[in-house]
């Protein structure tokens, strides 16, 4: 009888222990799964592979297309990436992009060229697992032919007009005097 009672309580203890072990094991596995999910990938392998212009020698005011190629070398999709184009420190334009696993995609931007030597930088930024990442690629210098300021004829006409008025002003008193009938001695 005694032996029977001990055996049943032992069994109960064993079952409880078994249940506890299973539960804790399940909990650990769950934690591990969560840890895998939250941990950033060891190699965050996204890159900007190319930055090209539809016309490398545009004229000022010409709208050109800037193509930026982004490659995701990881086995998972990355969403909510911001791809922006910078000219010096100014943000020209930006767009939200997402890129699938092991994919390379080209994104086009329209830009109205500004005169002078320009350098465009493509910046890829995102918040990945609480960490801010920023990848950039700088273009080669491009020379944008500035729109000519004014024309040559206007300053020539301006100087001729000034000469005409200044030299012509010599004659104004004679003309006025002849109309008013006054002689020079009276002037």
């Amino acid at each position: 009888m005694m032996w029977k009672r001990m055996r049943s309580s032992g069994l109960t203890l064993f079952v409880i222990t078994l249940l506890l072990i299973s539960a804790s094991a399940l909990h650990v596995v769950g934690e591990e799964d969560e840890a895998i999910k939250q941990q950033p990938p060891d190699d965050l392998d996204i890159s900007i592979t190319n930055l090209t212009f539809s016309n490398p020698e545009p004229e000022e005011g010409e709208v050109i297309t800037i193509s930026v190629t982004v490659r995701n070398n990881m086995a998972q999709r990355i969403d909510d990436l911001t791809l922006s184009l910078m000219r010096f420190d100014q943000n020209i334009t930006e767009k939200e992009i997402s890129i699938g696993p092991e994919e390379e995609e080209t994104f086009d931007f329209e830009w109205e060229a500004v005169g002078g030597t320009q350098t465009i930088t493509a910046v890829l930024s995102a918040e990945v697992f609480g960490e801010r990442i920023e990848i950039s690629l700088r273009s080669e210098d491009i020379d944008v032919e500035p729109e000519p300021l004014g024309d040559i004829y206007s300053p020539i006409l301006a100087i001729l007009f000034i000469f005409a008025v200044v030299f012509g002003s010599v004659l104004i008193p004679s003309i006025v005097a002849s109309f008013s009938g006054k002689s020079k001695d009276e002037d």
Binding site: E60, P146, G150, V170
Partner: protein, 271 residues
Amino acid sequence: MKSIKEDMMEDIKNTCLTVSFELKRHFRMKRMIISFLLAIGLPLIFYIVPLIWASFPDTAEGFATLNLSFVNLLIIISGSLFAGDAVVGEFEEKTGLLLFSTPQRHSTIFVGKYIGALLPTLVVVSIYYLTTSIEIIGIYGVEGITLEYFKSFFIALVYTTSAVSLIFFFSSILKRKITSTLLGFFSLLMILPIIENVLQFLVEVEPWYILTYSAGLITNVFVGTTPIGGGPGGQMGQFSPDFYSGLTVMVAYTLILFFLAVFIASKRRME
């Protein structure tokens, strides 16, 4: 009584006589030599210094922009030299007692004096541009002389006329040669640029009506519509002068101040 044609011919002859007298006076007072030497010497600095200690800018436009940013200074110096005492000198030194008693019309005397101050200043600016163009050809070849260079030259000539008009105006209203010359010199070199900068950077208003602001076009033509700022300091500004309104402002300054100066001087009497 003379016919209108004879009257006009006499006025032209008298004006030419005044111009010739003024030019001889400037020559006698060595003003021409000084300003011509400056017109050759200043651009030579931009050639010799980089040749010995540094290197030339990559482009002819860059060299021209650097060199011509100082043509304003030469215009101000020559304008003050030639026009600073043009009218006031006659009143201060009492030489007007002899001059104004001649049968020549007073207006022709003052127009002649204005032309006598304007012509050498224009020649000085032309020498500066000629020296710079020789340097550009020497460094970058003939193709370095672009249409923009000629545009800049003609704008500089228009600016010269307005600067001379302003100094000539001061000469017609003030009583002393030194005051007129210094006021003309400092108004173009400092006073107007200060007002221009205050309006630009503190009030944030485009000072399109300020003469020195329009002078920025002399070098701005080399960089197209992209503003690089104007004035002797070459400071980066948030505004840049519009080509056509800038030219109009310069022409307006020239003609309004010229007519005002001639009118005031003609009405002025010896004390």
